[in-house]
């Protein structure tokens, strides 16, 4: 590791093109908030490109609900600009305070708890400009909210972790931000009724912003049971009555707290920063559905680890303290696939091996000379 090459500080797209043409192997980094995604053992000698200097908002027309920005732009800058115009990124980006960039957010494909309401990164990206493995700059998608022309490279690059091309600029759709939020934390003594509550809530026409499930009793700090955390947003005057309605369909007698104001905001901000996950642990995201959770829980119950189910049971975030082999085998057994975001992995993928026939062909077209790390291990 010590003899890794010094990164090229990129300020112009042409530098990316030159580097891709000049070097045999190239890796990309932004602020390094998701370091495990860059792991590719055979690529230690690759030339790193640091894209933090390729930053800035290129276009923003609030009335269009769209913006275009360079890949190295910090999300914090994007969020501030949008907030000043009463708008936001509905996919609820993660690790914003840690310094995450827009390009890294697209490349990692990670969305936060708030993606429940309107969708994830893949649902809000409109266009992407990237340098492919031959050094050409390619534009996919567009800058308008609706577009069906050509292959959907913006979606393909979402979650591609720098292995299909170097993202240099992206266009996004944004929405008007809810003027206010309220949350409800409901404690359940055991897992099963908490999961039932998720089903009950998501099949009703409630506009929930987020619906997470976390171990323990969040308000008291006790270790027993599970806490369902839900969030709604909208006109301030209506929030209390809307929350009452939501609460009425949950079983009576459950312990409930309803944070408001700063406490409410910081509860969700901490979730987006993974404040609950010990820094030394492996941070892993697993995609799943609610019906797959009981089998997984029965395997994890023997070794309780910090975790959080988000997006109404569609994502598990887990902070795995030990070697990943055991988690890998549990996920494999259950047919679940995940990605290691932070920690000591040998490859970023974990669990069920990705089916790669289609991906392999796409990779060969975008990166014919293997300039970028392999998408999946052979």
């Amino acid at each position: 590791m010590a003899d890794r090459l010094a990164p090229v500080a990129v300020e112009h797209v042409a530098q990316v093109q030159e580097a891709v043409r000049a070097f045999d192997r190239v890796t990309v980094r932004g602020s390094g908030t998701k370091p495990a995604l860059a792991i590719a053992p055979s690529y230690d000698r690759a030339q790193p490109l640091d894209l933090r200097g390729l930053r800035g908002i290129v276009e923003y027309e609030p009335q269009e609900y769209t913006f275009t920005a360079r890949a190295g732009t910090p999300l914090a800058e994007v969020n501030d600009l949008l907030a000043a115009n009463g708008q936001y990124l509905p996919f609820d980006p993660v690790l914003v305070e840690a310094g995450a960039t827009l390009g890294g957010t697209v490349a990692s494909g990670l969305s936060g708890s708030g993606r429940l309401r309107y969708g994830g990164v893949r649902d809000f990206i409109l266009g992407v400009r990237f340098v492919d493995g031959s050094g050409a700059t390619v534009q996919g998608g567009g800058k308008v909210v609706k577009n069906a022309a050509g292959f959907d490279f913006p979606k393909l690059l979402t979650g591609s972790i720098g292995r299909l091309g170097v993202i240099v600029e992206v266009s996004f759709k944004v929405f008007p931000a809810p003027p206010a939020y309220r949350s409800l934390l409901v404690h359940f003594p055991s897992f099963s009724p908490a999961l039932e509550a998720i089903y009950a809530l998501t099949t009703q026409p409630f506009d929930l912003v987020a619906l997470d499930l976390l171990p323990g009793d969040e308000p008291t700090g006790a270790k027993e049971g599970w806490t369902l955390a839900l969030r709604i947003g909208g006109a301030k005057a209506l929030l209390a009555s809307r929350l009452d309605r939501v609460q009425r369909i949950l079983a009576a007698g459950d312990a409930v707290s309803s944070p408001a104001g700063d406490a409410e905001a910081s509860f969700w901000r901490e979730a987006a920063e993974f404040a609950w996950a010990p820094a030394a642990a492996n941070l892993v995201k697993v995609a799943l559905t609610p019906t797959q959770i009981p089998a997984l829980e029965s395997r994890l119950v023997a070794t309780p680890v910090p975790c959080r189910y988000t997006v109404a049971g569609n994502v598990l975030w887990i902070a795995w303290p030990d070697a990943l082999a055991k988690l890998d085998s549990i996920l494999n057994e259950l047919g679940l696939a995940g990605v290691v975001v932070r920690g000591q992995a040998t490859v970023p993928w974990i669990g069920r091996a990705p089916t790669s026939a289609f991906a392999r062909r796409i990779k060969s077209a975008l990166d014919p000379h293997d300039k970028f790390a392999p998408l999946y291990p052979d």
Partner: protein, 477 residues
């Protein structure tokens, strides 16, 4: 000959009533909703099972015969136009709902299922499938997936790709792959999203996992008339500037109103130059509060008549006129071309004025019905196909409108896809490098270019290099 060997192998497997080869049997398949283009396939396979589709694709690959998968043939871009002497794989019989899981709000369907039938099946559970192209009573999910279909609700809910979680597909060489799954999230590149909108060039979707949504608790619909298209366009900007996020915002012009009235008698004000329909949806208390806000915005927007749908029947009538507008325009003219360009929403007024001027300059009538919230125009260019040269004049006008959309920073297609119709305009929107990579991807997936050959990518694309835009002309005349 490879084609005849393929036919004899298919004949050995498929009963004759499901392997159409006679001219009268083939006639309905020679064209889709872009009726100005026709091509006669060698045979049409009415596939009965997924295995038959996989078999047929493998045989086509083995014998190097191009094929086109087809649903209901509602493509307005010629996306399901057959290949002359190729095979059509008709998927309408593959219309099962394989699984409906209301608790997880999922449906796994075959490609031949009709869009609206998904919502019908989900309705008893209080759920629905959100993408609603105007053709939803007949178009199939397979076609929606191939062309990333839209509808009236895309600003808030996105397009088909935003509602497809997983796809089992047969690639053009017969390999079967599973992309994505049932979770709202995945790990790795969004291959499902990449497959959607690939216009059949990546093969045939066999099973599609759809995300269902809870049916909104309340809808509030308002209809406002304006004395100019520009004023209606400005009202849309006002609604957006007010921070509202309507489920749908639609505009119709005088010609479209006239046609809709004559056809379905929706009760629209007849003297208006433009009509705006805005609909809010969501939780009842929220929708009520937002609707009061919306109403104030519309009242201040210079509207003539304002109508608020008092009940579901009135709401349905307002939408009936809008959704039936395309077919209604058929009463005004023997033929028409539907354009599908997109402009930034703030440029709607400018775009409409320029379309009006182009229409006058070409002496060709244009009716406008469009998704104003998305900036997705649908100029209907009217012509009489029996008049020599009329189609060509209409196509010239369509081309000018498309170039205007690109010039204003938009797209050549919002939801109908490129198909046959707009592929010659691809080089105006994408650079030679962009197109070269699309072409490489196409050949990496389908080296023989068998799957829906000739669609989306400009003709001769494999040879297109910088400065050679002019060679990218259509070969259908």
């Amino acid at each position: 000959m490879a084609l005849e060997t393929l036919i004899s192998e298919l004949t050995a497997r498929i009963p004759p009533e499901r392997l159409l080869q006679q001219r009268p049997q083939l006639a309905p398949y020679e064209s889709d909703a872009l009726t100005s283009l026709r091509a006669r396939p060698r045979a049409v396979l009415l596939a009965g099972t997924q295995e038959e589709v996989i078999d047929a694709v493998r045989l086509c690959h083995a014998h190097r015969v191009p094929f086109v998968a087809r649903g209901s043939g509602t493509s307005l871009s010629g996306g399901s136009l057959p290949i002359e002497d190729g095979i059509v794989i008709a998927l309408n019989r593959l219309n099962r709902i394989i699984a409906l899981d209301p608790r997880q709000r999922l449906a796994v369907v075959e490609p031949g299922i009709i869009n609206l039938d998904v919502s019908r099946a989900a309705a008893p559970h209080g759920l629905y499938y959100a993408p609603d192209p105007s053709s939803q009573p007949i178009c199939t999910i397979g076609g929606n997936v191939a062309f990333n279909s839209g509808g009236a609700h895309c600003l808030k809910y996105g397009m088909t790709a935003n509602h497809v979680l997983g796809i089992k597909a047969v690639l053009p060489d017969g390999e079967v792959v599973q992309l994505g799954g049932a979770s709202l999230e995945t790990s790795g590149p969004d291959l499902t999203g990449f497959f959607v909108g690939s216009e059949g060039l990546f093969g045939v979707a066999l099973e599609i996992t759809l995300r269902l949504l809870p049916k909104p608790e309340a809808y509030r619909t308002i209809l406002a008339s304006y004395d100019s298209l520009a004023a209606a366009g400005q009202a849309v900007s006002d609604v957006v500037a007010a921070g509202l996020l309507p489920g749908a915002m639609e505009i119709m012009d005088r010609l479209a109103i006239e046609a809709a009235e004559a056809s379905v008698n929706a009760g629209y004000p007849r003297d208006a130059a433009a009509l705006l329909i805005v609909e809010l949806e969501g939780e009842a208390v929220e929708v009520d509060a937002e609707f009061a806000h919306l109403r104030r915005v519309i009242e201040r927007s210079g509207a003539g008549e304002i109508r608020v749908a008092a009940d579901e029947a009135e709401r349905a009538r307002i939408w009936k006129g809008r959704k039936g507008a395309f077919s209604a325009v058929g009463r005004l003219s023997p033929n028409y071309i539907v354009q599908d360009g997109v402009v930034p929403r703030s440029k709607l007024g400018e775009a409409l004025q320029r379309i009006e001027a182009l229409s006058a300059a070409h002496g060709t009538r244009v009716a406008n019905v469009f998704h104003a919230g998305d900036g997705n125009l649908h100029p209907l260019i009217l012509y009489d196909g029996r008049v020599p040269g009329a189609l060509e004049r209409a196509e010239d006008l369509a081309g000018e409108i498309i170039h205007m959309c690109i010039e204003l920073g938009g797209s050549i297609t919002g939801e109908h896809g490129v198909g046959m119709e707009k592929r010659r305009h691809m080089p105006a929107m994408f650079s030679p490098d962009d197109l070269a990579l699309m072409s490489s991807v196409r050949r990496a997936v389908d080296p023989l270019e068998l799957a829906n050959r000739g669609k989306m990518l400009p003709a001769g694309q494999t040879q297109v290099t910088a400065g050679q835009h002019e060679q990218a002309v259509t070969d259908h005349g």
